[in-house]
Amino acid sequence: MEVKVEKTDKQGVLKRIAGPVVTAVNLDAHMYDVVKVGHEALMGEVIKIQGDQVIIQVYEDTSGIRPGEPVENTRLSLAVELGPGLLTSIYDGIQRPLSVLVSKMGDFIERGVSAPGLDMTKKWEFKPLVHEGDVLVPGQVIGEVQETSIMHRIMVPPNAKGGKVKSIKSGSFNVTETVCTLEDGTELPMLQRWPVRVPRPVKEKVNPTIPLITGQRILDGLFPIAKGGTAAIPGPFGSGKTVTQQQLAKWSDAKIVVYIGCGERGNEMTEVLTEFPELEDPKTGKPLMERTVLIANTSNMPVAAREASVYTGITIAEYFRDMGYDVSLMADSTSRWAEAMREISSRLEEMPGEEGYPAYLAARLSEFYERAGLVKSLNGESGSVSVIGAVSPPGGDFSEPVTQNTLRIVKVFWALDAKLSQRRHFPAINWLNSYSLYLDTLHDWYDKEVSPEWNKLRSWAMGVLQKEAELQEIVQLVGSDALPEAEQITIEIARMIREIFLQQNAYDAVDTFCDMSKQYDMMKAIRTYADLAYAAQSAGVQPLQIVSITSKGEMPQIKFIKDYKPALDKILKDMDAEFNTLRAGA
């Protein structure tokens, strides 16, 4: 077949096709330019230039593409479209709305279809917040749009010059219509584009001091992440990474949630897609979907788009951060992202680093996590992006490159443990291996907002769990009856901390979210039991009697009761009475 190619400065010719990586010649290109490949104009991105050969990763399936077909350079870098319409959207890795793709090409993802990230025709009610004659700076808020229950602030793009407002309109506009004109003739629509591989600029980054409350006891209580912080959840398959990520997406007290399903299961994304619109935000009572942007690039969708999906997500997160919102971003899973890099790299025949991953793996990971943070944005507002990345280590082995390179960067480590999940201890986060480096900076917040006692209670609980681990080693050798009486009680208290406080049922309507004051009350109740138990034991009561008091058996039920206070008070009262009887009998 003869391919006729008209040579323009923007057009090149395909020379070689090998899976998602293709080579073009005679193409005038720069790194990361977006190009259209072949007669079907498949979207691709320049990733390597070698002499007159330009190597391109293609975001769609390349079957049937032949050498000789044209390649056109758009001269733009891969960018996302930012503006009203982002919220409640579901995108693929390169910001094509999946609902639009269904209407354009049916139930299966075909190729060669482009779709804008935002609905270009929908009208939004724009309310200006600046006046004629005001002098604008980059990043400044010029107006707002009630997008869902979230107010979408329209800003001057960070890369615009700014200047004096010549005219500003009010009323109903689509995202491409000019709403504000500056003296120098610059026209500002609501829509702005931003290249995904470049972090959006900020005035300064500040150290985070407020926790991101997630309603998950082991996270908020023992290993908190700060707003603007970074966390990693590594774990073997089946240990509950995805459930944990979804719990965070549902319940974390961020204003905006960006959820990236990167190389994961299609059915799981469907679960998110069906559940989120039905679930209510515990604070506002509005559907969770109203504050959510979903990016779904499942494992069988093109691998290059998977590589891009993480950047697409974080750029959207940064955009909302610039409005002064707290954003939390979940990436599930960063290992699939790293594998996409590996796959592309090996097709480029680059010299591999550890386990075949490219040598720049560590750099890419740290660049990504560094885009998190609590910031003062260009307009002076304070906003944050918290990044929580799932890691899927092969064989559950944490010594592999993705886990190790991630741990060097992130401040919070939630170690998922297959043993715990096999025992149906959920969330299966190992309390001995996990850590949070935000404890010190968040100390004051817990003192003020929860209780001055909280930090002490937390270290007490950690102490008991640590002690239990030591005692268990002895029990493994000699059996539990051989332990001294006080330590038999310690084991029982540790069991209570594990089963009552740490275990949490994500599928129970009440237990799925537990606020800080309930967490405090629960921990405090366990502490009360502990104090009474040790006192009784030193007064001569048998450990068997202490551990088998009836009131304590009711305590796990507290988790499932919404208005738990009366029940808890009753348990504590009964417990006091029971211990009094025991002590009297000793």
């Binding site: 077949m1 020379k15 096709i17 090998a18 899976g19 080579t23 390349t62 079957s63 049937g64 593409i65 032949r66 050498p67 000789g68 077909e69 579901i90 999946l98 793709l101 139930d107 299966f108 993802i109 075909e110 398959f237 089946g238 399903g261 190389g263 299961r265 299609g266 059915n267 994304m269 469907t270 679960e271 897609l273 069906t274 779904a296 499942t298 494992s299 069988n300 969708m301 691998v303 594998e339 796959e343 090996s346 025949e349 075949g356 899927s392 092969p394 064989g395 297959a418 096999q422 025992r423 149906r424 201890h425 493994q476 050798l477 059996g479 539990s480 009856d481 599928y507 796990p556 039920q557």
Partner: protein, 463 residues
């Protein structure tokens, strides 16, 4: 069609052809031997200088004099209604002596990804009649749930039992089985075929057989042919299709073989770095599409080399599939069938298919409680080996006994025993009643009052 005689190199399953006109990536290639035999292959790499063709059969007989014909289209599978009841080779040709398939459609075998937005949420409980699956790791329509096994374990029987007994209680919709064998022995294949014939399942089945002595490279397309057929039956004809793929380990070996022949940079244990994506393109072809009647449910079977669940094949599979059913050697040695160890097993979609309206309201909590109790009892076995039973506390002894009882009564069942979900759950309660009520911390009081045998007898309200 133009024929080239410009083969420059043949290495393993790969044929390198020079000086061609532009050839499309992924195109189907016919290779004509000197004696007129035609072999099939696919373009793996194409440029204006050289085209690399992967041959799906042995390269025996291919030489520099062979004629290469590029067909100009990607590999297509002829599909039709009359495929049901047929036995095809791993390459899709009838081998049962019957006529050629009358194609109603020709479909691309790579299959496009289902748009996540178009997917329906899987929630129809499939009753397999096996307690450890129904009760503890429930299968739902549209799920992909592999069986992880080891050499010499009865995974084939488990798969057959599922294929035979699987049903959605109360539903009478059209149901079909697509069975794809990759590199299994003739003997194993015969066992499958006999069972299909014995139970009459063959007439609603399509069988693809790539046996151990068939070309390894053909295994690359066998699952794709099977799934293309399954998608046709499900989404065009509206049937509920159960796809059994066995043995995925042989498939991955074939993948490695091609990777090595192409001199690619290998990933873990020599398997190609793109194995995750490649496997995902097979496993993800399960599911339900909103507004369409049928569904594709997958049960891939793989044997874990050295029973090692961290081996790349089970590992990558587990990251893609919605859980796994693990067949266990210790249970098998104890003479328990089906030897399914629920501890490392998991069904991720279980919660969508159980509970009120699907199975029974107590399902989730009963299964959680059995899990926890069995895990604890199982841990104690290690301890008993060191300190002896006498050193255990009263509580520990009860859990230890629970573990034994559970394996003997709950796990063990007959090859033809088909338990309903009610049987399974009642059996679960029966076992749990051996433990003191206050140890049942994962079940709320109302459910205990309603289902616990002890309280039921005392006249508590019944479900």
């Amino acid at each position: 069609m133009k024929e080239y005689r410009t083969v420059s190199k043949i290495a393993g399953p790969l044929v390198f052809v020079e000086k061609t006109e532009p050839v499309g990536y992924g195109e189907l290639v016919n290779i004509v031997l000197f004696d007129g035999t035609v072999k099939r292959g696919q373009v793996l790499d194409t440029s204006d200088e050289i085209v690399v063709v992967q041959v799906f059969e042995t390269t025996a007989g291919i030489g520099r004099d062979s004629g290469i014909r590029f067909t100009g289209e990607t590999i297509k599978m002829p599909v039709g209604r009359d495929m049901l009841g047929r036995i095809l080779s791993g390459g899709g040709k009838p081998i049962d002596g019957g006529p050629e398939i009358v194609p109603e459609k020709r479909l691309d075998i790579t299959g496009a990804a289902i748009n996540p937005y178009a997917r329906g949420s899987p929630s129809d409980f499939i009753q397999s009649g096996i307690s450890t699956i129904d009760g503890m790791n429930t299968l739902v329509r549209g799920q992909k749930l592999p069986i992880f096994s080891g050499a010499g374990l009865p995974h084939n029987n488990v798969a057959l039992q599922i294929a035979r007994q699987a049903k959605v209680p109360g539903s009478k919709e059209a149901f079909a089985v697509v069975f794809a064998a990759m590199g299994i022995t003739r003997e194993e294949a015969n066992a499958f075929m006999q069972d299909f014939e014995r139970t009459g399942a063959l007439e609603r089945a399509v069988v693809f057989l790539n046996l151990a002595d068939d070309p390894a490279v053909e295994r690359i397309i066998t699952p794709r042919l099977a799934l293309t057929t399954a998608e046709y039956l499900a989404f065009d004809l509206g049937m509920h299709v159960l796809v059994i793929l066995t043995d995925m380990t042989n498939y991955c070996e074939a993948l490695r073989q091609i990777g090595a022949a192409r001199e690619e940079v290998p990933g873990r244990r020599g398997y190609p770095g793109y194995m995750y994506t490649d496997l995902a393109c097979i496993y993800e072809r399960a599911g339900i599409i909103k507004g369409k009647k049928g569904s594709v449910t997958q049960i891939p079977i793989l044997t874990m080399p050295g029973d090692d669940i961290t081996h790349p094949i089970p590992d990558l599979t587990g990251y893609i599939t919605e859980g796994q059913i693990v067949v266990n050697r210790d249970l098998h040695r104890k003479g328990i069938y089906p030897p399914i160890n629920v501890l490392p097993s998991l069904s991720r979609l279980m919660n969508l298919g159980i509970g009120k309206g699907h199975t029974r309201e107590d399902h989730k909590k009963v299964s959680d409680q059995i899990y926890a109790a069995y895990a604890e009892g199982n841990d104690l076995r290690g301890l008993v080996a060191i300190v002896g039973k006498d050193a255990l506390s009263e509580r520990d002894r009860m859990f230890l006994e629970f573990a034994d009882l559970y394996e003997d009564r709950f796990v063990r069942q007959g090859y033809d025993e088909d338990r309903t979900i009610e049987d399974t759950l009642d059996l679960g309660w029966d076992l749990l009643s051996a433990l003191p009520v206050e140890q049942l911390v994962r079940i709320d009081r109302e459910l205990i009052a309603k289902y616990h045998p002890k309280f039921k007898k005392e006249g508590a309200p019944q479900g």
